[in-house]
Amino acid sequence: MSLMDVKIDHEKCKVPAACRKCLAICPQAVFKLHLGKVEKYKLAPDEEWHLEAWYWTRCSGCMECVKICPLDAIRVKKRKEAVA
């Protein structure tokens, strides 16, 4: 199985929940936002959502996310080591 490494530069992409372009475009729905903090009586603000290439093993390497990211924060590379 060939696997892709999907890396998100969190220094460049600070508030992913305000953009969400990579989430919408990925054909394999690799990306996922998850909440970093939950508080009573409060709706989570955009800053509390963390973006991760959650289902990275499903990445096909089509590079759509790399092309669409306005901040140039996503890197997709094929993994070098061979895996079973």
Partner: protein, 341 residues
């Protein structure tokens, strides 16, 4: 009949057993089981802080206190304590059975995605660890939060059995597709008295609107026409907490089962689709609606092909066939698939 119906069905389908809906039954059962297996659904009373860049600094709850009197007669009290990546505590025995420790404050959805993430990260990298991790997710879901695919008719029946019904934003679509604008992706139905308390916690409430049975039925019929698969979810098994209208790949339950092979996250339905070749004209309309990859076209014959071993029995193909060329057969009466749940 799978073991869930045997355990929670009282002789029939588990989800038609009123004890799994009624508020009084729920509180009675809760009192009865409180002693041995109580945990608390996370309601945001304490801030949940997870710092993905510095996991070692993340702060959640203190480890639940160990009550010494319990250790002697409760074998689980001696089991080792583990933590998910969001710092929710759980215990695991040598068989890979998972239990949430007494007094712990957890969020079942976040715990599920955390445990599934371990499977995802091990897939293709540490192949030898995968079966054990899968077993862990399966055990967790089976004990606390499994779902099952149901047909339109069963869904409509369910809506008459339960009260109240609220429509809310789908958590899977919100997280994996970023559909988080208010009113966007309102695909999930929440059932049962538990939802009243949620008003205090907008993150769980997710713009919930209460619906009458008639309105809810209209919405479900609308979603069915769109092609969405209805699934029934338990929150704290066997209490029924929601009906979702799912699709692959955004539904994390379907995904966990199809992509990562963790069964017992979402069980197959009570039915299975079977083609009637005399009626099939080969229009291929039904193939569009299969979310589970069970359908294809036999091009040489110009007929549809259904892999009944892959079929989840959602009934979408039957509903969208213009020539009634698909019939639904009962899974438990079809020997070859009767134990595939």
């Amino acid at each position: 009949m799978c073991h869930f119906c045997t355990k929670h069905g009282d002789g029939g389908k588990w989800f038609e057993n009123a004890a799994n809906f009624a508020a009084r039954m729920y509180s009675n059962r809760k009192k009865k089981t409180e002693k041995e297996e109580k945990f608390v659904q996370h309601m945001g009373s304490e801030a949940l802080k997870i710092d993905p860049d510095h996991p070692e600094k993340s702060r959640m709850y203190a480890t639940p206190p160990i009550i010494t009197e319990d250790i002697a007669d409760n074998p689980w009290a001696q089991q080792k304590m583990f933590e998910t990546r969001s710092k929710f505590p759980y215990q695991m025995d040598s068989n890979g059975d998972v239990k949430i420790p007494k007094g712990a404050v957890v969020d079942l959805d976040i715990m599920f995605t955390d445990l599934l993430k371990e499977v995802v990260d091990a897939t293709g990298v540490e192949a030898d660890k995968v079966p054990q991790l899968k077993r862990k997710v399966a055990s967790f879901m089976g004990n606390y939060h499994f779902g099952q695919v149901i047909t339109l008719e069963e869904t409509l029946d369910m809506l008459e059995l339960t009260y109240p019904i609220g429509m809310m934003q789908c958590i899977c679509r919100r997280e994996t597709r970023g559909q988080m604008a208010p009113g966007e992706a309102n695909f999930c139905f929440s059932l049962g008295v538990g939802i009243y308390k949620w008003e205090r916690w907008p993150e769980t409430f997710r713009g919930l609107t209460f619906l009458s049975v008639k309105e809810a039925k209209e919405m479900i019929t609308h979603y069915n026409k769109k092609g969405l698969v209805h699934s029934l979810w338990t929150f704290n098994v066997p209490y029924i907490g929601g009906i979702c209208n799912c699709e692959y790949p955004v539904c994390q339950g379907i995904r966990g089962r199809l992509d990562y092979g963790v069964e017992s996250i979402i069980l197959k339905g009570e039915w299975c689709a079977k083609p009637i070749y005399e009626n099939c004209t080969g229009c291929g309309n039904c193939v569009r609606y299969c979310q589970f990859g069970a359908m294809s076209m036999q091009l040489s014959r110009n007929k549809v092909a259904i892999d009944m071993k892959k079929c989840f029995g959602c009934g979408q193909c039957e509903k969208h066939c213009p020539n009634s060329a698909i019939e639904m057969v009962e899974r438990r009466k079809t020997p070859g698939i009767s134990d595939l749940w």
